[in-house]
């Protein structure tokens, strides 16, 4: 299941970054993928829609959000956690 979630997340981010999913590494930061602040807000919306979850994210203070956007790995972990919480 986790792999599926992970690949769905990568598909969404890849689409936003106009890349192939396999070009989106776990270490890549949104910036490195060419995703600007508006692109990030758009990606978060797409993730919320895909998994029917609510992601706590305020663009004014991204570092204070529970949702860690440092890189793809942290984003994937955070989404997986929210998806698991929803299922529980």
């Amino acid at each position: 299941m986790t792999d599926t979630v992970k690949s769905r997340i990568k598909n969404i981010i890849a689409e936003q970054a106009m890349l192939e999913p396999d070009q989106v590494s776990d270490e890549a930061t949104p910036e490195e993928l060419g995703i600007d602040s508006l692109g990030l807000v758009e990606s978060i919306f797409a993730l919320e829609e895909e998994f029917d979850i609510t992601i706590p994210f305020n663009a004014n203070e991204p570092e204070k959000s529970d949702f860690d956007i440092s890189n793809m790995g942290t984003i994937i972990a955070a989404v997986e956690r929210l998806v698991a919480e929803k299922a529980a």
């Binding site: 602040s37 508006l38 807000v41 609510t54 305020n58 663009a59 004014n60 203070e61």
Partner: protein, 429 residues
Amino acid sequence: MSAEKTGKKKAEPTKSAMPFNPLTRDGQRRVVITGAGTINALGHDVASTLEAFREGRCGITRLDFRDVDRLSIQIGAQIHDWQPESYFNRQQILLYDKFTQFTLLAAKQAVAQAGLNFQGKLGLRAGVVLGTAGGGLNTWDDNYRAVYEEGKNRVHPFVVPKLMNNAAASHVSMEFGLRGPSFTVATACASSNHAMGLAFQMIRSGGAQVMLTGGSEAMLCFGGVKAWEGLRVMSRDACRPFSANRNGMVQGEGAGVFVFEDYEAARSRGADILAEVVGFAMSSDAQDIVMPSAQGAERAIRGALQDGGLNPEQIGYINAHGTGTAANDKTECAAVAHAFGHHADRLMMSSTKSMHGHLIGGTGAVELLACIMALRDGVIAPTIGYQEADPECALDVVPNEAREAQVDAVLSNAFAFGGLNAVIALQRV
């Protein structure tokens, strides 16, 4: 023309000749403000709003309207005690969206203060330019709900005349018989400043003698706030412009309307002049639909100074755009620092959005009241909610408490989504 009339003219200028005397600054007419009106979360008129500015009172409260529980943003500078039936009859209420109601109330106050009567020739040389971003948004919201959610197949016949963005301007023109140039400007958060700047230019160039101008917004309804939530730039707790711990903007609602008038005409009728409008400039970032540019803002600031024949050192106060978002506040401070150089450390700049919220298309109009207060009363409205210094906003933002200071010239900044900037310069008369 009869000899008798000509003779009379020489002795003392007749009323009809007065407006055509081009007594001007650099060959252009001078423009002054002779009336002001407002309704916003701080008060239902200018006096109560200025009182709130002096006290540093916050108009931001818990939102109260249908389906508010489905919003993640629960606060706003809402006008809670609004009772349109106190001001309008049943037929008018059916025809006026809230943004029009707010506008008409503010316009009546402004015209009453100016003491003008637009019957006769003056009405032909008078118009109205207003700003709004959402127009009749409550009307859209209510009627979409009726047809989509409630499945109704019929709407009230006044839906279109009620929701159109020019409804407020049109009703103002009808209320007072303003038969000159009238229209509505929509430049998001800069709408009011663009509107007032255009009104200023119209009088300065001789295209009109009197203009009612300003703007209004009534976006605090489920759809209006839900749309803003999407951008994730809204604060859930407070508007803290320039404070290091700021976390976003807070919406407000209301209107501000002013009477702009040809200086010579105002002086000759002995009007009480609130301030002179001396400069205006617009610029476009041409860069990003939401992220502001310091260069674009700086060009508008410099442009307004140049247009008004002002040296940077003459500016004592700036009413900031100051939305309380991470991006706007640091960009605006950088623009002011560049435009003013060393003088940036001496001038005061506050954001009154911390008190009345962000009225989007109406915000510049309510903020112009703080500029007039600074010039006339020598009181600088504070930036409330200020808690932590931000090195990227290292200007005197008049934190938390109003300050007494004599200033001779001021600016009002507005920098809109879409990168459209409009800055107005006022001077004491």
